[in-house]
C-alpha cells in the first residue's frame, strides 16, 4: 500500500559553522502515520526535525540548503512565511516547557495569537484539545491554575494540547518521552496512536523499543547520513543495510 508523502526532503544539507551536520538527506514522510527518526546521539536527528518547522533558523552560524516540501510548498524558500509553516506543525520538546501562564491560557495561547478572541469559542477549543491529549478529566477543575502545578507527564500532555490547538496537520516530537516516567511515557505513546488517524506524526527517539512499538515508518540516521528508511516491519525484520542490522542488534551506538 503506497501512501501519499506529507513531507518530502530533497538534498538537505545543514552546516553549523564548519561542521557538516546533515549530509545530502532525501526522504519522504508518509501522511497520517507515525514516523520514527532513530539513530545514536549526535547523528542529526534533532536537527532534521527542527528543519521541518524552521526552528533551526535561530541556531548560531547555521547554513541550510536543499528543499523541504510540505504539502508541495518548499518551506526553506526565503519567501515562505515562517509563522504559517510553524502553525502546520505542533512540537513536543524533550522536556515539557509550559508557557508562564494558566493551564487554560496555555492551550488558548495559539488560537489567540491567530486571532480567535471569542470566549465561548476559546472555551470550546480548550476543552476539545485537552480531551484529545487525554488531560481534560485531570484538569477541568483547575484550569486557571498555573501550568507549573502539573506533574511532568501532565505538562507534556498540556504541551501536546497546546500544539494541537493551532490545528496543525503534523506533530513533531523531539524525544518527547525522555524526561517522563514509564507510566507517563506510555500515556503519551497511547495518545500518539490515537492521534495518528488525523495527524502525521514524526518522533525522534533513541529508544529502539519505542520505535518498534509505535512506528509505521522508520528513518535511520548515522553521523549525519541517511542510512535506511522504510516501513517499520521491513526495517526491523528485513533490514537492507548491514549498518542497520548492527544498530538493531545494538552493536553500534
Amino acid at each position: 500500500m503506497e501512501n501519499r508523502a506529507h513531507i518530502r526532503v530533497e538534498g538537505l544539507n545543514v552546516h553549523f559553522g564548519s561542521e557538516h551536520v546533515l549530509k545530502d538527506i532525501s526522504l519522504s514522510i508518509p501522511d497520517r502515520k507515525i514516523t520514527a527518526i532513530i539513530g545514536p546521539s549526535g547523528c542529526g536527528k534533532t536537527t532534521l526535525l527542527r528543519s521541518f518547522n524552521r526552528l533551526i533558523d535561530s541556531s548560531e552560524g547555521v547554513r541550510v540548503s536543499g528543499r523541504v516540501m510540505v504539502d508541495d510548498e518548499n518551506i526553506l524558500d526565503a519567501r515562505a512565511e515562517v509563522t504559517h509553516i510553524r502553525r502546520k506543525m505542533g512540537l513536543l520538546l524533550q522536556r515539557p516547557y509550559p508557557l508562564p501562564m494558566s493551564i487554560y491560557d496555555n492551550v488558548a495561547y495559539g488560537p489567540r495569537i491567530h486571532g480567535i478572541r471569542d470566549r465561548r469559542r476559546l472555551d470550546e477549543i480548550v476543552e476539545r484539545f485537552l480531551s484529545k491529549a487525554s488531560l481534560w478529566d485531570e484538569v477541568r477543575q483547575r484550569l486557571s491554575q498555573p501550568a507549573s502545578v502539573l506533574s511532568l507527564g501532565q505538562q507534556q500532555r498540556l504541551c501536546l494540547a497546546r500544539g494541537l490547538a493551532v490545528e496543525p496537520e503534523i506533530i513533531l516530537g523531539d524525544e518527547p518521552t525522555s524526561a517522563l516516567d514509564p507510566q507517563s511515557s506510555q500515556r503519551i505513546e497511547q495518545t500518539f496512536t490515537e492521534l495518528k488517524s488525523d495527524y502525521t506524526i514524526v518522533i525522534v527517539t533513541h529508544i529502539l523499543r519505542q520505535a518498534r512499538r509505535l512506528a509505521d515508518h522508520v528513518i535511520f540516521l548515522y553521523l549525519g547520513e541517511l542510512i535506511e528508511q522504510g516501513p517499520a516491519w521491513d526495517f526491523f525484520n528485513n533490514p537492507k543495510q548491514p549498518m542497520t542490522r548492527e544498530y538493531i542488534k545494538g552493536l553500534i551506538s
Binding site: N53, L55, S58, E60, G61, T83, H84, R86, R87, M89, G90, L91, L93, R95, Y97, P98, L99, P100, M101, S102, Y109, G110, I113, H114, P146, A147, S148, C159, R162, G163, V166, L172
Partner: protein, 283 residues
C-alpha cells in the same frame, strides 16, 4: 596536620568577617539615621511645605521634597522602563546571539553604568539649554532616566537571558512572531527579575542628588507642572545639613529617615504585587 581543614577554617573566618562588616555598616547607617532623625520626625514634617524661615529652624515640613522626589523618581523610572525593556528584548530575542553588535551594546551599557551621576546631570543640563528648558521637573526626570537607563537595561538583559531558549521555541512552534513571544512569554517569565531591576533603579533614582542639582532645581512649593522646578529629598537633606542650626540638622536626619522609609514601603509593596503577578512563572 590537615592543611585543607586549616584552609577551610581561614576562608570561613574571612567570609564571616566580610558579611559582618557589611551587615554592621548597614545597621550603623540605619541606627544613625534613626537615633538622630527620630526625635525631629513629626506629622508636620510630612504634611506641610516649608514655611518662611524653615531653614533657620522655624515651622513647616518637607512635603515639597517628598512629593517632588516621588514624581521625579516615578516619572524617570516609567520613562526608563519604556526604553530599557525594548532594548533588553532586542538584545535577547531579536538579534542573533552571536552578533558583534550585541556584545558592543552590552559593553557600552556597562561603561555608561559606571559614569558618575553628576556627569548625567551636566549632560541633562546641556540638553535642557539646547532645548531652552529651565530647571524643572521634566529636566530632572530626563536626567534621572538617563542615569538609571544603563543599569536597568543591563539588569533586565541579565534576567531575560536566563529565559530558556526552549520556552521561546515552544512559542515560535505555535506560529507566534518574535514580538508576540517577547511580550507574552519572555517578559512574563522574566517578570520577577524585571521587577527587582525596576525597584533597584527606582531606589537609585530617588536617592540621587548630583543628577538633579542643575536639572530639577529646588523649590518650596509642591510641583504642579512638568515645567516648574521640583524639590527632591536628597537635596533637601543636603541643604538642611549645611545649616549650622542643630534643629535644622536634626530635620536633615529626619528627612533621611523619611527617604529610607519611602524606599522600604515601595519595595515591600512591589514585592507583594509581584508575588501575585508572577505565580505563573515556570520554574
Amino acid at each position: 596536620m590537615d592543611r585543607r581543614k586549616v584552609e577551610e577554617g581561614i576562608f570561613r573566618v574571612l567570609m564571616v568577617l566580610a558579611t559582618g562588616l557589611i551587615l554592621s555598616s548597614l545597621v550603623m547607617i540605619l541606627l544613625t539615621v534613626l537615633v538622630k532623625g527620630l526625635p525631629y520626625l513629626s506629622l508636620e514634617m510630612v504634611t506641610q511645605t516649608p514655611r518662611g524661615g524653615y531653614y533657620l529652624g522655624k515651622g513647616g515640613g518637607i512635603l515639597n521634597a517628598i512629593i517632588g522626589s516621588l514624581y521625579l523618581a516615578g516619572g524617570a523610572t516609567l520613562l526608563a522602563i519604556l526604553f530599557s525593556l525594548p532594548v533588553a528584548l532586542y538584545l535577547n530575542v531579536y538579534s542573533r546571539p552571536d552578533a558583534r553588535f550585541v556584545s558592543v551594546c552590552r559593553l557600552a551599557f556597562d561603561v555608561l553604568n559606571g559614569v558618575p551621576s553628576i556627569v548625567f546631570g551636566a549632560f541633562g543640563f546641556t540638553l535642557m539649554i539646547y532645548f531652552g528648558l529651565r530647571a524643572s521637573l521634566l529636566g530632572g526626570i530626563i536626567a534621572i532616566a538617563l542615569l538609571i537607563l544603563p543599569m536597568l537595561i543591563r539588569a533586565m538583559d541579565e534576567v531575560i537571558r536566563l529565559v530558556p531558549r526552549e520556552l521561546m521555541d515552544a512559542s515560535y512552534a505555535l506560529g507566534a512572531t518574535r514580538w508576540e513571544t517577547a511580550l507574552r512569554v519572555v517578559t512574563r517569565q522574566a517578570l520577577p527579575g524585571i521587577l527587582t531591576a525596576v525597584l533597584i533603579a527606582f531606589g537609585r533614582g530617588i536617592g540621587d542628588a548630583a543628577a538633579v542639582i542643575f536639572t530639577a532645581g529646588f523649590t518650596d512649593a509642591v510641583p504642579t507642572s512638568l515645567l516648574r522646578p521640583a524639590a527632591t529629598l536628597p537635596l533637601a537633606i543636603f541643604f538642611q545639613l549645611g545649616v549650622p542650626v542643630p534643629e535644622v540638622q536634626g530635620r536633615a536626619y529626619a528627612s533621611a529617615l523619611i527617604l529610607t522609609l519611602l524606599i522600604l514601603i515601595i519595595s515591600v509593596a512591589a514585592r507583594r504585587l509581584s508575588r501575585r503577578l508572577t505565580r505563573h512563572v515556570v520554574k
